[in-house]
Symmetry: C2
Subunit: 294 residues, 2 copies
């Protein structure tokens, strides 16, 4: 087996992403030792029992000592405070990365706490399921999924390159881009869809004329497609919206204007506007299906 | 093999639903003879070649002659004019049904054209795929899906009962309800999700800052879940929205009010409102998963 990419590494946070990373690292032998840290004792115990980490540590400060790579696998809202805590314990030459769905806000919150001689390479693996916790992880989560890296303008190219190889080792395809561009791409392809899904499921649940039982029973009519992503982790998503506010509000405004146009067409019996809109969305689906085949 | 439920039946319209019905009828031997009619000569040729009908007819008038059951498998907007055309050719004692996603408007358009002695039993199988045309049908489309029947208040119970058995023979679970209730249930579980999906795919496609290529590439982040239903047949969906206007506008109003509340929370950094909303939608997903297991 080839030499591991990293000697010691630390995973801070052992939920769906942290535990999946542990499994993926073991699968490809990407690190000699994986140290894990999480807030709850039960999570640490589970992680050790499943075996996707080699050691567990009650505090992130303990976990990051001597680590060559530290990955923050926590909701984006606590990345900043976490960096402030671990900052004094980071090894010279180490790489710090994260898995947050928002990049500009995470960089603003974390970068000031990264000591000189430590490299910060923010990342976002676009992968997930509707399940949470240390038992929900699996090695294949990142296979053939995209991981976006948003290196800082003055970042170390060697560190970025190592993170590209790391994520490829986890099975992912890697793309680098600026944090600003990442945030608008994520707002469109991920954050807006989640907000709409959370919203529509709530709307359906609130109606007086249709029971929850009926909504569940007849979900296959289209509603079901929305419920998977509306079952995602509420803390993670709260933090995403609080931290990608500008980009999300921008795409929401476009979404609302478009929806108003369709609503107006329904109100005014304008079949042509409806038909034209419904027809043009088919090629996007075909593009996605083709992409998956390739 | 048991005696077929119907001697001769006619399918008017041989797209996804019409062709799937043909296959399902053959599978369970529900009719001795299936006559098919469609607007295009190519569709008729394909239908005969695949063999899900026994005979094809250039006009619906020809197809319905001597039929004991006629099912209109066409967009809801043309059900009324079609009934007017076939009306003089319907056999005494025959049943006329449809598969439209809207029921009140279809009843208003069709009922006046149903001659005395012919029974009208409106129906809506909640099943579909993103594909269209006579080649897209398959016998299993209705298996374990719901078919809603909305018999008229003064309708013949025997005819309704026969349609229940017919749809059960096609593999579906059958529920009867009023047309009014059907339309609001369908607006929530199917029409609103489709409208939102059509809309969000359009919004994503229109942004200047994010390319279509990027939307397709990163669709797995959540966007993908919306594209399946946004690839549905545009004519069918145009007619649904034009014909279930009141119920759709009603649920849209609720959807917009809810979305405005979430938008406001994002604007004002109100994490509590976001968290509460995101948390409560999980149990609906669980309900759907449990339903599918049962």
């Amino acid at each position: 087996m080839a030499e591991p990419l990293f000697n010691r590494m630390a995973l801070i946070g052992l939920g769906l992403i942290g535990s999946s990373l542990g499994h993926a690292i073991k699968r490809a032998n990407l690190a000699s030792h994986v140290a894990g840290s999480a807030r709850s004792a039960k999570t640490l115990e589970t992680a050790l029992k499943i075996g996707f980490v080699d050691t567990v540590h009650e505090t992130p400060e303990e976990a990051v000592k001597e680590a060559d790579l530290v990955i923050l696998c926590v909701p984006v809202g606590i990345c900043g405070p976490l960096c402030a805590r671990i900052s004094p314990y980071l090894k010279q030459g180490a790489i710090v990365s994260d898995v947050g769905s928002v990049k500009t806000a995470v960089i603003e919150a974390c970068a000031p706490h990264i000591p000189p001689g430590v490299h910060f390479v923010p990342g976002h693996p676009m992968a997930g399921t509707e399940f949470s916790g240390p038992e929900s992880g699996f090695a294949e989560l990142f296979d053939n999924r995209w991981c976006m890296l948003t290196p800082l303008p003055d970042g170390d190219p060697g560190a970025t390159d190592k993170m590209v190889r790391f994520w490829q080792g986890c099975g992912a395809n890697v793309e680098t881009m600026t944090a600003q561009h990442h945030d608008i791409v994520a707002a469109v392809t991920s954050h807006l869809p989640h907000l709409i899904a959370f919203n529509i499921v709530g709307t359906a649940d609130d109606l007086e004329t249709v029971t929850e039982r009926e909504v569940i029973k007849y979900a296959a009519g289209g509603f079901r497609d929305f419920t998977r992503i509306a079952a995602s982790d509420p803390v993670m998503w709260r933090d995403v919206f609080l931290n990608n506010k500008q980009a999300v509000l921008e795409v929401l405004e476009r979404f609302n204007a478009d929806l108003e146009r369709l609503t107006q067409a329904i109100r005014e019996d304008d079949g042509e506007v409806l038909y034209d809109q419904f027809k043009r969305t088919r090629h996007i689906r075909r593009g996605i299906i083709d992409e998956e085949k390739s």
